[in-house]
Amino acid sequence: MYEGKIPNSKPSEVKEELVHGEHTWLFGVTNPTISVYLPQSKYATGQAIIICPGGGYRLLSYDNHIEGTDVARYFNSLGIAAIVLKYRLPLNETSTEPYNAPLMDAQRAMRIVRKHSSKWNVNPNEIGIMGFSAGGHLAASLGTHFDHGNPLSQDSIEHESSRPSFMILMYPVISFSRPSLASNSRKNLLAGAESDTLLKFFSCELQVNEKTPPAFITHAEDDKVVSVEHSLLMYEALCNANIAAELHILPVGGHGFGLINKNQHIASWKYNLELWLKSLQH
């Protein structure tokens, strides 16, 4: 994703490690990448989605059926380009400002996709970001902390805007502002650096403004890991800023139900998503 030295990084012994078990987990990400999955060009709708896996900012959850290859292929079947983002995890050993590393990578990924849009049959104004759990926090952070690019940069990728055209937030962590909503994501992202300024900066519901892109949010009421209150707060913030937002709350599903689910009821949100994505197409 970066040419030459990776910004906000320092030399370390940390090595990326993929652990297979009941779930597939990736630890110690120091070298961010994107994996691009394109639909057949004749079916391309022009939409693209950058997918941010979850994992509480401690690891990246790499289960194919939740946020990996299967999901990318599913979007491809709808004519949508899918880009899986392997973002850096915030680690004091590897970054000078660990809490900035994931957001920095998400911004960079957005610029890269935009830069390649014509080559990949993507409309530069229809590139969204999707995130699961902590990845939802990252997606919402990008939706509230983007810039329109730096035309003076020598790196032409940096000329591109990092604004997502839409956000898809799956059982997201949103707020760092309330003790009742404490999360591992907050602990891991701001490890040792919890200041009022940063807590506010990364409380996405406090950062919404009229330029925030439209959002689709899904959460299960019985989620014991990330409370549904996160999604309610985000929806209300979007609503107050007059941003078109859609919120689907299921009574069951728990945390991490993903996109492909044998339970038809839990999987139903994906049709709501399909129809919402269609409504955004130009």
């Binding site: 078109a244 709350i249 009821h265 269609k278």
Partner: protein
């Protein structure tokens, strides 16, 4: 059809006046026949004197100029639509049409919904409840809830006869009808076993409720002012506002709930549904909520919009998930 053909033949004959009368009679017969086909049964909620009513000369009116809605309802009843027996799920849903407690949108939020529900194996009952009116009722605000409870008891009393599981009878309400459904879901009783009227022995608790772009709160900042004014009049006492603000009335035995609202609803604010959602969650009532990015107010089945209309599939999947 044979009868109509006969009429047409008769028209060609000499006795035109007589033929005209026959034609009128036959077409009346034809249309009442059609009505019988569209609903299987129509039952008045009360036999004898209707409680909480005043003598009046008001006639019920169906206005097909404006929203195909009913006004001036003095004789409340239920219209029962039954699914094909072999596809019946044993589930029943009472439907409360909306209309700001001022009219009843009996087609868009009544009959159309009933027809849809029968196609997914559900017995659908359109409730024609009385609208609050000082001209027609003694205590006007009590009347819609009274009728809703009564309708629930009647359906439960007929459960076996209609192949319904008496523990699978829910409600769906639209807009002000959603308010009515939510007041039933929070103010039901389990029946009065000592009543002389056996219908009153039955519970009026819905087993589940679906609230579609509902009015929930009657508090100043959130409410739909039109519905509140119709139900409680101007400057109602705070006790009544509280009683009819369903977000304040959720209890442990409030049934599982399904909510649909559109973000861009300009008539009944989405805040109503959010308040209800939080109140239900607070009491651990399992709830499903779909807030759409667009759809406005009063979309009914929204058959023309795939995106908005998908709520009916969400509803179906939710119903199937209920025990």
């Amino acid at each position: 059809m044979a009868e109509i053909t006969t009429t047409l033949v008769l028209l060609k004959t000499k006795n035109r006046v007589r033929a005209g009368i026959i034609c009128l009679v036959l077409s009346l017969a034809f249309f009442s026949c059609f009505n019988l086909k569209s609903q299987d049964l129509r039952i008045p909620l009360y036999t004898g004197k209707i409680p909480n009513s005043k003598p009046n000369k008001v006639k019920e009116k169906f206005d097909n100029e404006y929203k195909n809605a009913l006004t001036g309802i003095t004789v409340p009843d239920i219209a029962v639509y039954r699914p094909t027996r072999e596809f019946s799920t044993g589930r029943a849903v009472l439907i409360f049409p909306g209309g700001g407690y001022w009219i009843e949108s009996i087609e868009l939020e009544g009959r159309d919904i009933a027809r849809y529900l029968t196609t997914i194996g559900i017995t659908a009952i359109v409730v024609k409840y009385r609208l609050p009116s000082d001209e027609l009722c003694l205590n006007k605000h009590e009347v819609p809830l009274m009728d809703a409870k009564r309708a629930m008891r009647i359906v439960r009393a007929h459960a076996a006869e209609w192949n319904i599981d008496s523990q699978k009878i829910g409600v769906i309400g639209f807009s002000a009808g959603g308010h009515l459904a939510s007041t039933l879901g929070t103010h039901f009783d389990y029946g009065n076993k000592s009543s002389l009227d056996t219908i009153e022995h039955f519970s009026s608790r819905p087993n589940f409720m679906a609230l579609i772009y509902p009015v929930i709160s009657l508090k100043d900042s959130v409410t739909h002012p039109g519905s509140r004014k119709q139900l409680l009049g101007n400057n109602p006492p705070s006790k009544l506002i509280e009683f009819y603000s369903s977000e304040l009335q959720v209890k442990e035995d409030t049934p599982p709930t399904f909510i649909v609202h559109a973000t861009d609803d300009k008539v009944v604010g989405v805040q109503n549904s959010l308040l209800m959602y939080r109140a239900l969650k607070e009491k651990n009532i399992p709830t499903e909520m779909h807030i759409l990015s667009e759809g406005g107010h009063g979309f009914g089945l929204a058959s023309k919009s795939q995106q908005v209309g998908y709520w009916t599939t969400n509803l179906k999947l939710w119903l199937e998930s209920l025990q």
